[in-house]
């Protein structure tokens, strides 16, 4: 499938129907991931980042979920594939790691069995060879004495170890795309760094694309090449990781970045917060979705819906006033610097 980008999500809409009505959890999300690239997807809880990931894998309950748009993987629209074909893609071409490794591993099977299972399914290997491969995968993720570990159960190993097992499982069939849904959230900081390193090393070795879903901007700065910021089911800003940290355009992104505490900052000052709360998905604002919480919001923002605009440097932004805000902020920075 040369010539096609690895993954191209176009205007993805994921709707859940429930007794109360329809909820649109992902509303027109568009992004691209290439081989060897790590795209960060950032946002608060409930912004639709996990639903986006699970839509790509089509893991959501097919009966109550409606997908619209396109998810082109190596040029094939996954949304139009029959379920049977999807089975060959899941765990083989696209793999996923979840947030909580404790509950994401089946407690009643050994680690080895769980890793070997996908190898047996996708690579037509016998149980014995699959087990050997499982041991090799565990070694790759840096687990000591893997030949003993394969016979252990998930409850017998530590949290960091479990996440390594998840990684070994996800990468056992050399997928071209790895989706990591908050892989380090439940881990200690020191273990977090190790896990990110393992993912990064294996990404380079296999030249795969990675979608790193997180709410931690530290993780983004560490491993991502590009970032998409999501708010209420939409991408509101997308850019290179350097550009995003150097000159965030959207007021929401600015708020997120400002709310990170710095070690050199003034400790007497309160940490910046974004006022208000994320509205419920069944009650989204009419105009710009961020308007009710935005300090720069005008009447236009409340009533008219902004589109994702591409700037000349490739940065994409969904905001009516980003140009003015940039200018205003620059001016106020000059004033602060002068005083």
């Amino acid at each position: 499938m040369e010539g096609y980008p690895l993954l191209e999500v176009k205007e993805l809409r994921t709707r859940f129907s429930s007794e109360k009505g329809t909820i649109t959890a992902v509303d027109g999300v568009t992004f691209k991931v290439d081989y060897g690239e790590t795209l960060g997807v950032v946002g608060e809880s409930g912004c639709g980042k996990s639903v986006t990931a699970e839509s790509i894998m089509r893991l959501l309950n097919e009966k109550s979920t409606r997908y619209d748009g396109e998810i082109n993987f190596k040029g094939v629209n996954l949304l139009s594939l029959p379920e049977k074909k999807m089975l060959d893609i899941r765990g083989n071409e696209i793999s996923m790691i979840f947030q909580d490794a404790m509950t994401s591993l089946n407690p009643v099977f050994t680690i080895g069995d769980q890793i070997a299972e996908s190898i047996i399914v996708h690579q037509n290997l016998g149980k014995k060879e699959a087990m050997e491969k499982a041991v090799e995968m565990l070694r790759l993720t840096g687990i000591p004495s893997p030949e003993k570990r394969v016979h252990e159960y998930p409850h017998e190993i530590s949290g960091g170890m479990r996440q390594r097992v998840m990684i070994a499982m996800a990468l056992s069939c050399q997928p071209s795309l790895l989706i990591a849904d908050e892989p380090t959230t439940a881990l200690d900081v020191t273990i977090q760094a190790q896990i990110l390193e393992v993912i990064n090393d294996l990404k380079e070795e296999l030249n795969m694309g990675v979608i790193m879903i997180t709410h931690d901007l530290g993780v983004v700065a560490e491993v991502c090449t590009r970032v998409a910021v999501m708010y209420l089911g939409q991408v509101i800003e997308e850019s290179d990781v350097d550009a995003l940290f150097a000159s965030p355009r959207h007021p929401y992104t600015r708020g997120l970045l400002k709310s990170i505490p710095t070690i050199t900052g003034d400790r007497s000052q309160k940490l910046h917060t974004i006022q208000g709360v994320v509205p419920a998905l069944d009650n989204v604002p009419k105009g710009c979705r961020f308007a009710p919480r935005c300090p720069y919001a005008t009447d236009k923002c409340m009533t008219e819906f902004p589109l994702l605009e591409t700037l000349e440097n490739g940065q994409k932004i969904r905001c009516w006033h980003h140009q003015e805000i940039m200018e205003r902020e620059a001016a106020s920075d000059v004033i602060t610097a002068a005083t």
Binding site: L59, R90, G91, M96, L105, F109, Y153, M166
Partner: protein, 316 residues
Amino acid sequence: MKAYILKRLLSMIPVLLIVAIFVFFLIHMIPGDPAAVMLGPEATPEEVESLKEELGLNLPIYQQFFEWSLHALQGDLGNSLYMNQPVLDAFTSHLGPTLSLALLAQGVSIFLAIPIGVLAARKRGTGIDRTFMIIAMLGMSIPSFLLALLLMLVFGVQLNWLPVAGYTSLSEGLWEHLKYLILPAISLGTIQAAVIARMTRSSMIDILSMNFIKTAKAKGLKQKVVIYKHAFRNALIPILTILGETFGALITGAVVTETVFNLPGIGQLVINAITRRDYAVIQGTILLIAVTYLFLNLIIDLLYGLVDPRVRLNRK
């Protein structure tokens, strides 16, 4: 493992002691003179006196209990007044039909309940789910004797496919043995199935919402494998508890069904002993039933270890 089993066996002692005390004093809880009650209103005072002597009812109560327990420990639970045989022999000779019936009924209930429970969980909230759960609710509410009588009427009397009542032992041939047990097993099994199906459903619904199910799907496993391998093995743990309970109930509580189908099992033994006021038999069978229950619980607990490695013992 050995140490665990030994510990469990030792912990049975206090339970059995309490049951023994209760069972023993059963005789003394009856108002009036137990010997007179046993013999009925037409007995002469001499007859009552001689029975009291024979049963040792004239001794001080603690001494009576002590002697009774001592004998019980040696497997001597006294003699049946009416059957002229030791209580233990009476119990073992009635155990066969009950055990056969219990196994068959449990088989019927598992065969019905597990697939229905799993299906209802998968189709949660749909018409299929609701229909099965309503049937299960009805099944739980039907008295076993009513279902037994209906089955008898249809398959025994109208269609004449199966005998209405009676029993032949396994030594007479498998089919001869089974044909008397099919109707009672269905009537007991379907009622138990209702309980097990509801448990299976709720346990499966629980497990299907777990994260590791998503992992299994994300691996590209077929839905069948996800449900029957990854989910069911986990859902089995609470189901096993219910199976242990229902099996215990089948062994000890099939009194009504055994009576209706005239099966010479434990239930019938107990009922007859009660109507004849055969106290030694009542005491003995209750004690033995308690022992059976305790061993059944131990077996279930050991089975947990087989299903769930987290409760497995002695893993280094």
